[in-house]
Symmetry: C2
Subunit: 303 residues, 2 copies
């Protein structure tokens, strides 16, 4: 299985257009040792020819154009065969609108996320323009689904949804099944296992087990501290209040995961305010010493 | 008045992720003399400190980050003070979702376009997160509105809506006032005049007069020929059928506008299939000989 990180930042990217925090200003001025990052986007392939997108980021056009393997082979075509959505957040779904160019796509999500997009938002009907129109498939807990056949073998990429807790985004109007708001994905192929959870409100026992069983876990690295966003904005909600367990501190992700991994653990969905982005910071060193890698755009793994 | 072209391509950009036409392939291979282009986005400023966006393109994050004058001056801030929408097309409105980072914004559109976004699409409620929430102002024909005060003088940037004909996008569900589907914008400041019409189904007498009276007209340059898109896709609708008068041929834009301009005429919203993108093509030479410039990302005008 190939896993390609096309984007690694949280909502807004790094730098963020309206943010003058020390990270964003330092990156713009060239005084910070850090890489710019587009918004989180991961692509997975079992056979290197068909690719499955994990979510559809706001920067997806830029990300698709910059990755040479996504070039079309025929007049109108794409190696992207499917998209799996983990939530209805703008970060996860906005990029579907980049994919409006008459390309038949398969989109996997929970029934609730599909209802938000298809019943509360007519704009996603642009995906029906293709012939055949977009095919929306429902992901159910306890029912693994084969999202892409491996053309070179009998098997394929199998996806299992993992409940994570978390809330629907604030724009959602109608009450829906809360356990379907935010899911993690376990993707297996040929005995290898990827666990994907870019938004993690809490490390449940099940989540810890999935991390421990995976060859590669891409995990929520949004915030270093609970109060980080409040300090920059001067008001607002904490990391935990918006569904992201911070990395540091008592009960933070570093502490929670200590001793729970055998494979690679990589932090992704990193907010522009997070000090781990500064490669010379103490926070950056601390997460690496705790056994984590820090995702950047263009990072690739072969499992 | 400063006018900055942040993006100049039609929907999908150039190259387009799923397009293998000779233009897109030539650009990717480096064999075509042409510039890559993001999707059409223009910014206008009366005083060089506050900027008004004309539409909100799907590539807006990338465009804002790449233009140094859009850097925030304070912890959280932006020189973007308003957005004027000319239609409800994805090309025009998707970028509003890039602007979801708690920044109070003013958005101008016709009542119908506002209804599509606010009543048929809950996702745009993310713009209500800011404090104060986004302020939606209605543009009415015959009622010019001051969209940004010039801080250095008594006057400001005044916007007049011009009916262009055209249709609502296919995702719109409810019947609406058809004349409000697609508008052109005339922006005046200190005696100077910009006319903006990136989508033009027909050159009416009024449109020709606006072009003739403007110091700068940014005009629909989507397609060279009526049949261009059908030839690449192998099916589908013609340029005229999707609301874009082609540049060439009998009744095309070059013929329609002959003799109707005193200021600069610049083609924008150029589709990836359009041969004018090839700087060595006969079509490129023909539009320049007819007195048109061809927009590219980063182009700027001072009126």
């Amino acid at each position: 299985m190939r896993v390609r990180v096309l984007g690694s930042a949280a909502g807004g990217g790094f730098p963020q257009w309206n943010c003058g925090c020390s990270n964003c200003n330092g990156l713009r001025a060239g005084t910070l040792k850090a890489l710019p990052r587009t918004q989180t986007q991961v692509a997975v392939s079992a056979d290197g020819s068909q690719w499955v997108l994990l979510n559809a980021s706001p920067d997806l056009r830029q990300q698709l154009v910059q990755f040479p393997e996504f070039r079309p082979s025929r007049s109108r075509s794409t190696p992207v065969c499917a998209i799996i959505l983990t939530s209805a957040d703008i970060d996860s779904v906005m990029g579907l609108l980049h994919l409006r160019e008459f390309e038949p796509l398969r989109i996997y999500s929970t029934a609730s996320v599909s209802r938000v997009l298809r019943e509360e938002n007519t704009i996603f009907r642009v995906l029906e323009r293709s012939s055949p129109p977009a095919d929306w498939e429902t992901i159910r807990f306890g029912s693994p689904v084969t999202v892409a056949q491996n053309r070179a073998a009998e098997d394929g990429l199998v996806c299992t949804a993992v409940p994570l807790g978390g809330e629907f985004p604030d724009y959602v109007r109608r009450p829906l099944a809360k356990e379907e708001a935010v899911i993690g994905l376990e993707l297996t192929e040929n005995g290898k296992r990827l666990f994907y959870a870019p938004t993690l409100p809490v490390y449940s026992k099940e989540v810890k087990c999935r991390v421990a069983e995976s060859d590669l876990a891409l995990l929520d690295g949004t915030f270093w501290s609970d109060n980080e966003l409040v300090e920059v904005r001067g008001r607002g909600r904490t990391a935990r209040e918006i569904g992201h367990l911070p990395l540091s501190g008592p009960g933070g992700a570093l502490e929670e995961l200590a001793g729970w991994a055998r494979g690679k653990r990589v932090l992704i969905h990193i907010n522009n305010t997070n000090p781990i982005l500064d490669e010379e910071s103490a926070a950056n060193r601390a997460v690496r010493e705790a056994g984590f890698e820090i995702a950047h755009d263009g990072m690739e793994f072969e499992l």
